[in-house]
Amino acid sequence: MINWKRNNTIKNFIPAIIVLALVVVSLKNYSPKAFAPKVKEERKVEETTTGIVADMGHTKETTTDENSTANSDSKVLPVNLPDVINHEDFTYKDGDFYGEAQGFRGMIQVCVTIKNGKIKSINIIKSQDDEAYINKAISLTTKIVNNQTTNVDTVSGATYSSKGIIGAVRNALEKAGVKKQSISSKVNKKNSKKKIKKGKIPYKDGVYYGTGEGFKGEIKVAVVIENKKIQYILIMESEDDKEYFNKAKSVVNNVIKYQKTSVDTVSGATYSSKGILNAIKNALKNAKEQTNKKPSNEADDSNNTEQETTTVYVPETGNNVYKDGTYALTGICNPDHGGAFEGYTLSATITIKNDRVVGITDVKGIGSTYIKANDWYLNRAIKGTSKEKGVVNQILSKGNAESIDTVSGATCSSQALIEIVKKALENAKN
């Protein structure tokens, strides 16, 4: 099925995986047609059976009609926030809701947990702003929870990050809220300007993989093509640091926006974008090959010695065991014997395509019991060590969650992640 052919260079360093949940910000403008209904089903299942909340941070469950999605999208809260939101005009559904808004450097993403109709906790999931500012502005989350309102003053010295956080919480609340009144027509108008160009990618629908040489090593991406459009791009594996990746995100966003990789370079961008662009180009090259290939040639794959390509796309057979889709799920990490740390909830987004797990993204601890110190363990579980393969890598190369080894020293996080994937497969069963 999927063959990962590794470049020799990768031997030189730790085969680590950073699943950078670059389920790209731009995604919110549409939902891939095939995925959207699955998400809805998924939610129903979750709510009725396990009570675990599933919510897609990046996929809107609204209609896929382009014009209306553009209008319904409420992502960009510009730096000029509406002064006051009247929270009494809303009631909120319980659950975890994701929201985002522009910070100083880029989008800030938060997860807002609603319990008994009240804002219970707010976690900042992603931000490109410098840590110093976020650390200042983070006090706002407590303030919002304590006062049950987003009408709070920005923190001086971190105005932009503050506005980003407030905006992101409001964005999340919009998804949680049963509105009696629309929040701000101004906001919607601004968003409607953002259009995704029409699909012109002449390739078959599918998930295609490509690699490129990043600054510190290999970058692996998955490009999802549907309806002749690049729907999203996941950065699956990379040795490059976080700062680099926050910047590289703009490259990914631009590819999705312009639906091509044709720019040679970017003036004024103080980072390297070549690795990621090459990875995307190689994925598209793969897509082209797969599109042009006659089925009878598939047996020749094993003789294919091309180094850059990493995977073979398996055409849909129609007899799949699992429904294709993207599933956002949570699992519990429980310490073994009342262990050394408090248990926490882990969430992840699992993408299933053609009976294979092809994406594990947005892996993060959520909820109030998740503390920063857990990051190390979670990271270890995801990426593995120099001796042990990370859970994500194992699952992606197998395509399923059977007989996956946990990473020593991060057993609990490993287990939780494996459970989430199993749960996703369970839910995806036809």
Partner: protein, 365 residues
Amino acid sequence: MKKTLITILILMVLICGCGNYSSINESGKENKTQQSVTSDSNLDDKKNNQKAIADLFAMDTYMEITAYGKNAGKAVELAQKRINELDDLLSTGNENSQISKLNANKELELSADVGKIMERSKYIYESTKGAFNPAIYPVMQAWGFDTKEYRIPKKNELKEILKNIDFSKVKYDNSTKKAYFENKNMKIDFGGIAKGYTSDTVMKIFKENGISSGLVSLGGNVQALGSKIDGSNWKVAIQNPDSDDGYLGVLEIKNKAVITSGGYERYFEKNGKIYHHIINPKTGYPADSGLKSVTIVSEDGTLADGLSTSIFIMGLQKAKEYWQNSGDKFDMILLTNDNKQYVTDGIYSNYSSDSDVERLERIKG
């Protein structure tokens, strides 16, 4: 000035092979340099259309070098060597660099490269009436832009420092290559021009090695040699200072440097205010000229680099006048704080943007 050359002390020059290497510099920080020279054998004419690529970290930034041609591998190798050499000469963070020695001793016999940069700097300093000023370095230090330990200097402190930034007090004799500071309190930094000079140098190396098609990006300072191998223009996107989705526009070029400066590159925030790193030598404070981003397009990379910050400091009106009076030496793309774009004649038809663009026409006379 624009981007101070700092702290990266020793970057190992790895001549061949692919792989990952690390070195420990004096501050104990780990630097990683990964370079690869590959040839693309898929091309039709294998011998003549070899492609060589190298990534490196030098001058405190990511760099990418690409060359096509028979000697691409060798050219790229030489280019890397030269870049590291220039970094060693020009880095204020390296106490053995020529700049550090000059700043410490207030006089020095300059190497050919540093002498040339001094000469070019003097010219741009004069022609921009001091908007470009390598002697701004002590002010940059006062703001903490050299160490990234940012602070807002006191007014009096700045006033004192501003007495020591007159670049005309740096004397340079081109025949003896001797430089000395008349004012012993001065310090200079060529960070605002070094990358432009470096990309010019790389172009020269490419040409000397028979390369007719190549592209470099030195931390966003782009310079292209010739056109792409299929004869089409290089497509250079301009970074949008505001958001991470969508470029400002895309410019098609051949044989040009495209250098963009804006307050978004390096900045800090205090009391709700953003302080960026492009300091106006007249005030000692971050330039507040109404421009958000400046892109200079020129065959002369050194000029383009020097002008990108000084045009930013000048603001729209003065920038227009400066451009009108400078012949055909450069073109520019200006973005104002209220998001209006201005593009000069010479590149107008090669520039595409989603937003409206106003054309600046040259007035003959």
